[in-house]
Amino acid sequence: MIKIAFIILSLISIFSALMVISRKNPVASVLWLVFHFFGIAGLYVLLGAHFLAAVQIIVYAGAIMVLFLFVVMMLNLNLVNNEKRGKIIGKSIGAVVSGLVLVLFTYSIRTTKWNELFFNQVTDQEWGTAVKLGSLLFSNWLVPFQIVGILLFAAVIGVVALMKRKITRKVENGIVITQEEDVA
């Protein structure tokens, strides 16, 4: 049963990932990416990482993809011209290299004796629930967790620093004039 679910979910993920990179319309790509995230979330559930699956759907498929869609629509990107899409030689080199990497990774993952390794020692069935994860984050991992907070704060400051503009509004003869200038 689990095996069938696994196969279906992985097929969904792989297929939607392929669709993401092959669509010409960016909006279609973004929508396929949402599908992809759902497939991955299903795989997380199969692994027992319930909290991660929920976060995957709420944060990625929900919040981030909506942002993506907004940005894509607002930028109104032109469709990529078919003739200017790189040379065949470059493409084929890329394909060969990534194919070799795929073979290498598959081989190494197949040949590693995973059942001798630590995964079989994980006996706690509830390791992926919000309770377990939360108590870990706020006990052992407290300081690294705080560092993540600092990291996000730095990112916010960075965005503000890059985007900050001074906008002044004046009313002249009944017409509102807005002026933008960089804040020094």
Partner: protein, 487 residues
């Protein structure tokens, strides 16, 4: 997972970082109430120097070392903390006129500099791959923003975007490597990884090597070593010049320091297997860095490529993998950071006409008009080229010596050869300053006391290390040999 994790110990181990971060946040609040930028500038300096004093005292007293599961505070991390804060203070000292000229927002810039320094400090003191990665990201995210601070210049946007995309890419490699490691060893802790390796040393699986390889690639990106160097010249050129100086110092030092720590703590048993790949990349980095630097017409780009070639010299010492090699890397990082900070400063002082040209012709006749400035620049160039009375010579000599001692004859010879080539483009600046006539129309160079102070300090450091190199080498050697390994 170790059950005896003490939060208080972890806080203790991060004390310097926490002090730095709290000062940065305090500055953010105080800045709201300050009318003029100048005040903030001075207070930042005061705080920076305060931190230095604090750390120096700690280092000298060897008062306390803290080891926890995630962090350790030993003389190795102290050394790098002091280096990072020194670079930070120098950046503030040397960047004043540039910020006046280009009207970059100073408060945010200084805050981001503080944050990325904190990230570098976390990276060095981390004992765990995940925590190291968090520090790396904290450092890099600030750097991506800093690279694009000159919003209206296309070059700056291009460099920042390239830096961001390739940096994110390399973080992906690193993270995937860490994941594979966690998959097979069951831990991301340096010493637990080492333990696992020692238990299964004769039958390491292919997955282990792929994980290790991906982690190496992640670091090679950060070193800007050759197949992975494409972001660096553009990012260096596009960034505001004082920030470029910061780029060439802190991130590179942090990457090399962390790499040394990982090699010593996590990979002592497999380090000899990395020798070949490190060797090839070291040679390629030295070669391409130097040959491309020869052809540059802009001094800023020349310095960018020269920093690639310096990464190559540092990688020679990584191949040697002896304590002598590692401690000469540490000493090299001091000299190289300080020299680059000084050189970039003079580059932006001299290039006052239009941002983005930085041609050699700007230096024509500098020695007749501004003899002191020319002297400083000559000193920095001589130090970068590695000519005797300066610190730059001795650090290169130590790396050369350690390579010879470890029977790496080929690397030693190539290193000497390439640094001989590098003399050409460094001395070209000196030739322009001393032997070319002064152009007819000459604008005055605007500087201030902070810059003068900073230049004097940096040349003093270079000369002091050049005069008494062995004392400094014993200091760095002590730092390297006292890395805490799971006591």
């Amino acid at each position: 997972m170790n059950s005896t994790i003490d939060i208080l110990d972890q806080v203790n181990a991060n004390l310097p970082t926490i002090i730095l971060l709290s000062f940065a946040l305090l500055m953010l609040l105080i800045d709201l109430f300050l009318p003029k930028r100048n005040h903030l500038f001075r207070s930042l300096l005061a705080i920076g120097s305060l931190c230095i004093v604090y750390l120096v005292v700690k280092l000298l007293l060897q008062e306390k070392t803290v080891y926890t599961y995630f962090f350790s505070l030993d003389s190795f991390s102290y050394f790098f903390h002091i280096l990072f804060i020194t670079v930070l203070v120098f950046t503030f000292l040397l960047s004043g006129p540039y910020f006046e000229r280009t009207k970059i927002k100073f408060p945010e810039t200084s805050l981001l500099l503080f944050f990325s320094t904190a990230g570098a400090m976390i990276m060095i003191s981390a004992n765990d791959l995940i925590v190291m990665f968090l520090g790396l990201e904290l450092m890099s995210i600030c750097l991506y923003v800093l690279a694009g601070m000159l919003r209206k210049r296309v070059q700056s946007n291009e460099g920042a975007l390239k830096y961001f995309l390739l940096g994110a890419f390399s973080s992906g490699f690193l993270l995937y490597g860490i994941t594979l490691f966690y998959g097979i060893t069951g831990s991301t802790n340096y010493s637990e990884v080492n333990q696992w390796i020692s238990q299964t040393s004769n039958k390491l699986s292919l997955t282990f090597w792929i994980g290790a390889g991906l982690i190496l690639i992640g670091f090679f990106f950060k070193f800007a070593s050759v197949p992975f160097h494409f972001w660096s010249p553009d990012a260096y050129e596009g960034a505001p010049t004082p920030i470029t100086a910061f780029f060439s110092a802190t991130p590179k030092a942090a990457a090399f320091g962390t790499f040394i720590k990982i090699l010593i703590v996590a990979f002592p048993l497999v380090v000899s297997d990395f020798e070949l790949i490190l060797k090839i990349i070291a040679i390629a980095t030295m070669g391409i860095g130097n040959f491309v630097a020869l052809q540059q017409k802009s001094v800023k780009r020349m310095l960018a490529y020269s920093s690639i070639s310096h990464a190559g010299y540092l990688m020679v010492a990584l191949v040697v993998k002896s304590n002598l090699g590692y401690s000469s890397i540490l000493l090299y990082l001091i000299v190289y950071s300080v020299t680059n900070l000084g050189a970039f400063t003079i580059a932006y002082l001299v290039n006052r006409k239009n941002e983005g040209s930085y041609s050699y012709e700007d230096y024509n006749g500098l020695a007749t008009k501004y003899p002191v400035l020319a002297m400083f620049m000559a000193l920095f160039m001589i130090s970068l080229a590695g000519i005797p009375p300066t610190g730059g010579f001795f650090v290169k000599y130590y790396i050369f010596y350690s390579a010879l001692k470890a029977d790496q004859l080929l690397l030693a010879i190539l290193m000497a050869l390439f640094s001989a080539i590098s003399v050409y483009y460094y001395l070209k600046v000196i030739v322009h300053m001393y032997m070319k006539p002064l152009p007819d129309s000459y604008e005055t160079i605007k500087s201030d006391t902070h810059v003068t102070m900073g230049l004097i300090f940096s040349s003093l450091i270079i000369i002091i290390i050049g005069v008494a190199p062995s004392f400094w080498l014993t200091l760095t050697n002590r730092s390297v040999s006292n890395i805490l390994i799971n006591p």
